[in-house]
Symmetry: C2
Subunit: 486 residues, 2 copies
């Protein structure tokens, strides 16, 4: 629990309408949004709310607007405001809200957030690379309070119970509650399948696809995905990425595309947040072509500028999105535990595949993570990690901003950003020069297959200390200027 004993809502997804219709009356919209969260019990009694200042900043609205909304909710007895001590959800829900509970929850939605870090074949995910500038694009394991991951006695007492192939019920319930609040996804326990991580879900997709089906991948994109689908004999279609994300229009030019793998939150590796229009266009494509969207959501937990955009799954009216999340990125890579929100049409097939191949994740890890979530440790860890990574990113960005002409992008979220190279500088030469000075950089070109991008390199900062960042930034600047054509 953060400060004191009350649970604190980590972050609240931005209401989708706020991003889609900026002209709408924000006060009404936010009021309805919070009231629904309270009515459905997604914000449990006693939960401490983020401050109005924090919410205003993350939602991109005036603080006065949030103040008004909080005042109204307090007047109605839904929340308790305490001078200097923040606001908490009222212990007893007013009758009006209990009645509202029968109504379906309106679409929840969020804003921009970070992207899945790429794990190219050249860098196995299990090599943490902690402290190696700048390949430190994985979570920093030293931030984890490991004692909270201890398997508790009550979980141990029933560890020989049979576990459903789709995963432990209470773990799935905790995951459903988490992604409802933070990713805007409305789903039931039955929609969730516990996996070993995102690649595990992708492997299922590769097994589910038929011989003639093609899978569309972002280019540049997540290298492991391309490797996996090709290794398992699937036809891979490369789709270009532009400043709004995956170029959905290109999908129409390919027959037989049955599924699309995408990283809308923070494109891997470019860090682009897919626009709302593209998200809708992708959903339309899926509905028209009987296709599926595999939404790879990793790193979405780390966003520094504002609350994240809702997942595409949150907008999915026709059950066309298979949403994949992972604890391997947010906790530690050796955990091997993730989850998927699976469309009804694929669910039985997915669970049957897990059973037949003996790949249901082990109950010990499931019970451990279940406790970690239920006791609020996970949200606390994410909050601390986000603050830490933001501080490290800012330290690095400040140093680079002091140099005229250095351009970065994709820095708003995730665990890395892109540093663009000056015209005429080759990625290979730049990386080699950096390597000689002790910096491990990955060129954008490493992630490109058919489509090319201007020269750039990935800068991972999450698992570096402040001292490492200061020293490495100095070297990076020197390498940058030394590589300029004379």
């Amino acid at each position: 629990m953060a400060r004191g004993k009350q649970p604190l809502a980590l972050d609240l997804a931005l209401p989708f309408e706020l991003s889609a219709k900026p002209s709408a009356r924000k006060h009404q919209l936010l009021y309805a949004f919070l009231q629904e969260l309270l009515a459905c019990g997604h914000l449990a009694p006693g939960t401490r709310l983020p401050s109005t200042r924090t919410l205003a900043q993350r939602w991109g609205v005036a603080r006065g607007t949030v103040e008004l909304v909080f005042e109204q909710l307090a007047l109605e007895g839904c929340i308790l405001r305490r001078q200097g001590a923040g606001s908490v959800v009222a212990p007893l829900r007013p009758d009006a809200l209990i009645a509202a509970n029968d109504q379906p929850l309106a679409t929840l939605a969020c804003t921009r957030e970070p992207a899945p870090c790429v794990s190219p074949a050249a860098l196995p995910e299990t090599r943490l690379q902690t402290g190696v500038p700048f390949v430190a694009r994985l979570a920093d394991p030293t931030l984890l309070e490991q004692r909270h991951l201890q398997l508790a006695a009550d979980a141990l007492a029933t560890i020989t119970d049979s576990v459903p192939h789709a995963g432990d019920m209470l773990l799935r319930k905790a995951i459903a509650a988490h992604i409802r609040l933070y990713r805007g996804i409305e789903c039931d326990v039955e929609d969730i399948v516990v996996t070993q991580g995102i690649r595990h879900t992708l492997h299922f997709i590769s097994q589910w696809l038929q011989q003639d089906d093609a899978i569309a991948l972002e280019d540049p994109g997540y290298s492991w995905a391309a490797r996996m689908f090709e290794q398992t004999g699937r036809r891979v279609i490369c789709v270009a990425v532009d400043q709004a994300g995956l170029d959905v229009g290109q999908l129409a030019t390919h027959d037989n595309v049955r599924a699309v793998h995408t990283t809308p939150a923070h494109q891997a590796p470019l860090g682009i947040c897919m626009s709302v229009q593209r998200r809708q266009a992708l959903l339309d494509w899926a509905q028209t072509r009987d296709g599926y969207i595999v939404e790879d959501d990793y790193d979405s937990e780390y966003n520094y500028a504002c609350a994240p955009l809702p997942a595409i799954k949150a907008l999915d009216q026709h059950d066309r999105v298979l949403f994949c999340g992972s604890f391997n990125k947010t906790l530690f890579s050796g955990l091997r535990l993730g989850f998927a929100v699976v469309p009804r049409t694929l669910r039985a097939r997915f669970i049957d595949w897990l059973a037949a191949t003996g790949q249901t994740p082990g109950i010990i890890a499931q019970r451990t993570v279940r406790q970690y979530l239920l006791r609020g440790h996970y949200e606390r860890h994410l909050r601390i990690a986000r603050q830490t990574y933001q501080r490290r990113r800012d330290l690095l960005l400040e140093r680079l901003a002091a140099e005229p002409g250095m351009t970065v992008s994709g820095e708003q979220s995730g665990l890395h950003f892109v540093l663009w190279l000056p015209d005429g500088v080759s990625e290979q030469a730049f990386c080699e020069r950096a390597r000689q000075r002790g910096l491990v950089l990955q060129p954008i070109g490493l992630f490109c297959r058919q489509h090319t991008w201007p020269a750039g390199v990935l800068i991972g900062y999450a698992a570096l200390t402040d001292e490492q960042i200061a020293a490495a930034a100095q070297v990076l600047v020197e390498v940058y200027w030394a590589s300029l054509p004379r």
Copy 2:
């Protein structure tokens, strides 16, 4: 630790020569066998040896023979014999033995043992069926001392360390030591890959096979294997089983057979122990045809009459056997942890597949089981479980033996045996009649694909209490007599 604080060797595999050449001088053979185990450190100083009475019984030799061998080893200072307190491995190894350490260990070998229990599609493995007569063919979870499975603080401190894709080093080391002693397999840490269980290994095989390759399966056989290979689009060849096990001769009649899945220890579901001649013939086939043997060793831990035959892998001179074991059967099915001893030619491919598909088992379970093995809890658990299952089996067999004409087989090991039905009785009718009386029986026919066997049903007894066994046996006898043709 069993009784006191000294480790006790659970069981010692029967020297292969003893089963192959019953005319050889047993005394010399056993002496050389034990001396080698001591020389290589497989029996660590201080380890308590089984009594001469126990070893004589399990090796099928006169007690006097074992006495002679022990006396000789004691004279040489290799073991310490204490009146009434058993024998222990001497704390300091004599020089002669240390010198012998440089020599390669001769082939270790064992005798008959139990077979993999079938987990047909009709009965998902995670449904434990504890206490339901007679489908209780899984380990009894109530025998597990769960407190020993607690993840210790020292394991927790390093849980965010990166873990090799092939599995935790110390866990693999513990597995290598275990199967060296109890399955006669001489292997290094590098030969071992940690998996989620036997089906996980089979899934790798299905991915490794080429389009034209066929996989040969025992018929009747392990239903999940057939299901898996067919689901993943592989060509399946059914090979008949006779009283000596898999009919190796039939393999020659099929082209393109690249791998054979077999359950030599206690054939699933018939309970037959594959003969030594057949084992050799299978190895010859693999060597001649550039094929691989997938040795599915589950349930080999439970053998009641004598020490188990060595694994085929123990005789494998040409690295043709992929040996699979599992902790899911011996501990509890939700654990999802097993291992494989992988031929050199397949190793890189196997590990690469685990990495690319994100299917390396989680580090929490690996560390937990590693401690369980290293602290001796696993051997203690197996010993207690074996004694318990034997008692339950004996209780059931005694009751059935009181009825004239009832025939069983495959009872020497494993967690189930076969009850053969009288001529003219249909399996379906018998099972239906039993079901009406509360007994769940599985007919042999359920496991047959192309080849037929006389009518019989599987009787699982491992996870039943004495009271359940007594009551269910009474009902079974009544159903048996009532089903006889009038």
